[in-house]
């Protein structure tokens, strides 16, 4: 046995490690992953957009969602009532952010959270609603 050659036990061990890790990888790949919270959050975001998109504003002829994107003045007018509406719509542990071509409002986003989002086209531009567990 020339010097420098790996010991047979080490080679056996490496083969064993590969085998064990192979079985473990089978579990990781084969078992369906946990139901992530993102589909649930996406559903809540879509629900919020649906409700806001089918609700008339106090004045004007648009839905709340379209009024947010229409003009800077409409955005300012509708922002506060819409914020209160969304707070009441979403469950207490879910917070939100709304992005429109006229501006953004809602909660500051925590960078690690899983986010559900929906983008709704309106005739004045897209409105995005993002929700996450706060």
């Amino acid at each position: 046995m020339p010097r420098g050659q790996l010991s047979l036990s080490i080679i056996e061990a490496v083969v064993g490690v590969v085998l064990v890790l192979g079985v473990a990888a089978g579990f990781v790949v084969g078992v369906s992953g946990s139901p992530s919270s993102t589909p649930q959050l996406d559903t809540l975001a879509r629900d919020t957009a649906t409700v806001l998109g089918s609700e008339p504003t106090e004045s004007g002829r648009d839905s709340r969602l379209a009024a947010l994107a229409r003009s800077d003045r409409a955005f300012e007018q509708v922002r506060t009532p819409t914020r209160e509406r969304i707070e009441r719509l979403l469950p207490a542990d879910v917070v939100f952010e709304v992005r429109t071509p006229r501006g953004t409002f809602g909660y500051p986003r925590s960078p690690t959270a899983a986010v559900g989002s929906v983008t709704v086209p309106t005739r004045y531009g897209p409105v995005t609603i993002r929700v996450w567990y706060g």
Binding site: S9, V17, F27, S32, D47, T50, P56, S63, L89, P91
Partner: protein, 223 residues
């Protein structure tokens, strides 16, 4: 000397293998505990919630807007008809924590939450149009349905009823009817009568103002 080298190698090999096994078992355990053990429950809960808030469901007036009276009439068999995945399962449907329908203990099931509004309606509000004076009726924003009763006086003809400039009822030979008309919810509507001059009669417009309340719908199903 050789035997000792082999011994070191053997110990190293055993340590390696044990380490790998521990890591592998940890992985497998984490994967199993994270796995969705109740895909049927989740599917059923999602299906029931989807059907309850769908735009064409008997419980809603439009998408995500539940009709308060339809929700009040809901019971277990209606839920089953609406969403077959709930058949034979224990489930609980609640609005903001207040149970709407409950069958069996569904505590360990999967819960799905949806944001909805509940639409209830006020008592009917009746407004009359004096045909001979050509008056109009203004219906506030948000009202989507109104009942119009046209009762022309003797020897007079009322041909058209307009809501916000749109013709909603017309009869060339004269209207004498009781009809439900759809209105735009996004702006106030003015109801106006098109009648010949000197016509008499009575037109009443009846509507119920909707009150919407934001709620969270929770559906828990334990199959």
């Amino acid at each position: 000397m050789r035997a000792q080298t082999n011994l070191v190698a053997l110990v190293l090999a055993l340590v390696l293998l044990t380490g790998a096994t521990v890591v592998g078992v940890t992985f497998a355990d984490a994967a199993l505990s994270d796995a969705d053990r109740d895909p049927l429950d989740r599917h059923a809960a999602t299906a029931v919630a989807d059907r309850l808030v769908a735009a064409d469901a008997p419980t809603t007036v439009r998408a995500n807007a539940l009709a308060a009276d339809a929700v009040g009439d809901l019971n277990a068999s209606r839920v089953e008809t609406l969403a077959p995945p709930a058949e034979g399962a224990a489930f609980r449907i609640a609005l903001d924590g207040e149970p709407v329908v409950e069958r069996g203990p569904a505590g360990s099931g999967v819960t799905v939450r949806r944001s909805v509004v509940v639409v209830s309606r006020t008592d009917p509000i009746q407004r009359s149009i004096n045909v001979s004076r050509g008056s109009t009726v203004r219906i506030p924003r948000g009202v989507d349905l109104a009942t119009v009763v046209v009762d022309p006086g003797s020897n007079s003809t009322i041909r058209t009823v307009r809501a916000g400039g749109r013709v909603v009822l017309y009869d060339g030979a004269g209207l004498d009817t009781n009809a439900t008309v759809h209105l735009s919810r996004y702006e106030p509507t003015t109801v106006r009568i098109g009648a010949e001059t000197n016509a008499t009669g009575r037109v009443t417009v009846t509507y119920r103002r909707p009150i919407t309340e934001a709620r969270t719908l929770t559906v828990t199903v334990d199959a």
